[in-house]
Every structure is written in structure tokens, then in C-alpha cells.
Amino acid sequence: MRMMRRGAAIVAVMAALLVSSTAPAQATQLSPEVLYALRAEPGGVALTPTTAVWPALGMTLEVQSARAVGSCATGTICAYSGAALTGTRLTWTTCGTKSTVAISTVGSIANARSSGTLSARGSSGTVYASAGTGASANVAVANRPLVTNVSC
């Protein structure tokens, strides 16, 4: 779930007030995140099942099930030879234990899937970095040559 602030207003989302606001007729089609936000913050209008706007606040809510992380495409997991998603890139579309021996070092990993945690690990399972959904992580310099696989 991601909020894009178009205006300068800082949105303080109130604790869940189950106030039925101007919810559109097809409320059952809305994603749970949009439903929750509409209930918690009055004045919002759902545009699609996954987007809603609050014009007075200049705020838009966009629910994305998975998002790209840098150059790591949506729905995939990636390992890079350098930190901050630089260098030769290995990509996989499914989870599991994936060998990174094709690159000498693993400097960063990116998890563009919508569930699970991606770890960069050494051969015996030591975890050197972890990235949650939609996130990336760097491996400390000393450990970059020790990573032999990533796993989720």
C-alpha cells in the first residue's frame, strides 16, 4: 500500500473509525486497503478498486500488489554484484534457493514480489542481508564474496 502526497498536507490517518463515507455502489469490489482508508479518513472517493483520492487533502492512495524495485521487475527477485542494485543482475521469477555463483560478489538484493522475505546467504545458511516485499537491501562489504545463494 502506498500513499502519494500531492499536496503539502500531512495526513494523519485517524484510528479506524468505521464511518461509512462516500463509498461508491460497488463497495464489494474495492480492495481491503482502499476500504480501510476510506473508512479511516473521511472525504475520500474510490476511483478504481485499487485507487482512491481525497481532493481536499490532495492525497491519492494506490494499492499495488507488487511493485518494481529499481531495475528489479515486478514479481521477481534479484541479486546484484554491486551494492544499491548496481552491477550484473541475476533474476528469478519464483521463490526457492537460488545459486549466485555466476557473480563473484553479491552486493545487494531486491524483492519485487508481493509476499515473503528474500535473504542473501552463505553456503551454510548465514544470512547476510534480508529484503521484505517491495524492498532492497545491501550486503556489508566484507560479506559480499561470501554470499553463495539467495532464498525466499
Partner: protein, 175 residues
């Protein structure tokens, strides 16, 4: 000019068998040595696995890899790894670990004193003592691992022992 798929598969199988045999024979030895430098169990496994991953990459049936090459590679990896690691006291082993490794009959504090004295040697001196005394390799083999002459290995070993005696304040009696 074709390489028949059958010959290719046959070579690949032979390669796997030979590498597995090398791994089975040598992995515990390399691991023991890496562990002996003070790395904890998991880190030692990682570094040892890395040595064998490099070995697999260059493994060629016509030019076999031996234990000496593996140990030499491990030494290089350890040197690079230690240099890159953030500042921490090398060879700092918690006292509980020291007690765990001590054979019965020896005061854990004595064992710790020897470890500290070993840590005070230069890397090369320490490696020679580790490989010759702790791991039991011949001076010839150690020479191969360190890419030095057998003679220089002997010299270094006796110098290292002398230094160790000095650190432990032991008198050298030729009994």
C-alpha cells in the same frame, strides 16, 4: 564439428564424481584449518564452501586439484577476508569457546594463553605452526600451500616456536 552429446554427458558425470571425491576427502581438512584460525563455525563453513566453489569452477579432469592447492586458496581467502572485515580484534575467541576446545587435564587459562600467544605471531609464522603442528602437514606440503621452499618453512617454524616461547615466558631447555 560436433561434440556428441553423449561424450559431453559422460565427461560431466566423471567430473562430478571426481569433484565429489575431492570434496569428501578434503572439505573437513580445509574446514578444520579455517576454523583453527579463529573463525566461528558458520563463517568457517562459508569460507570453506567458497574455496570449493572456486575449485569447481576451475576443476578440470586433465589437471587435477590437490589438497595443497585448496589450502593455499583458503589462505588467500582468509587473508583477503580479514583485511576487508571491519576493525575487530582478530583471534578473539570467547572464553567459553576456549574451554570447549580444551582437552581434559589442561587448564583453560593455559590454553587461552597459548591462543593469545599464537595470535601475537605474524600471520605467516602462525600459519606455518597451524599447518605443521595443529594440522600435521609435512614441511614439503606446507611449502606447496604457501608457495615457499621447504627450507624456508623449517626456518619459519623454528623462529615461530622461539617467538612463542618468548611470549609465554617459557625457557628453551633442550631436554
Amino acid at each position: 564439428m560436433f561434440v556428441s552429446p553423449d561424450a559431453d554427458a559422460h565427461t560431466a558425470e566423471a567430473r562430478r564424481e571426481a569433484f565429489s571425491a575431492l570434496f569428501e576427502r578434503c572439505y573437513p581438512r580445509v574446514l578444520r584449518f579455517v576454523r583453527g584460525t579463529g573463525k566461528d563455525a558458520m563463517e568457517a563453513e562459508d569460507i570453506t564452501s567458497e574455496v570449493f566453489a572456486v575449485a569447481w569452477n576451475k576443476f578440470d579432469l586433465r589437471d587435477p586439484i590437490d589438497l595443497n592447492w585448496l589450502m593455499g586458496t583458503a589462505i588467500n581467502k582468509l587473508r583477503d577476508h580479514d583485511r576487508r572485515a571491519r576493525r575487530r580484534r582478530s583471534e578473539t575467541i570467547p572464553l567459553s569457546a576456549a574451554v570447549e576446545g580444551a582437552p581434559t587435564g589442561l587448564d583453560p587459562l593455559d590454553v587461552l594463553a597459548v591462543r593469545e600467544a599464537l595470535a601475537g605471531l605474524t600471520a605467516k609464522d602462525r600459519q606455518v605452526l597451524q599447518l605443521m603442528v595443529q594440522e600435521g602437514y609435512s614441511a614439503h606440503d606446507v611449502g606447496q600451500m604457501l608457495r615457499r621452499s621447504e627450507g624456508s618453512v623449517w626456518t619459519r617454524a623454528s623462529r615461530a616456536r622461539a617467538q612463542l616461547r618468548k611470549s609465554l615466558r617459557i625457557e628453551d631447555n633442550d631436554e
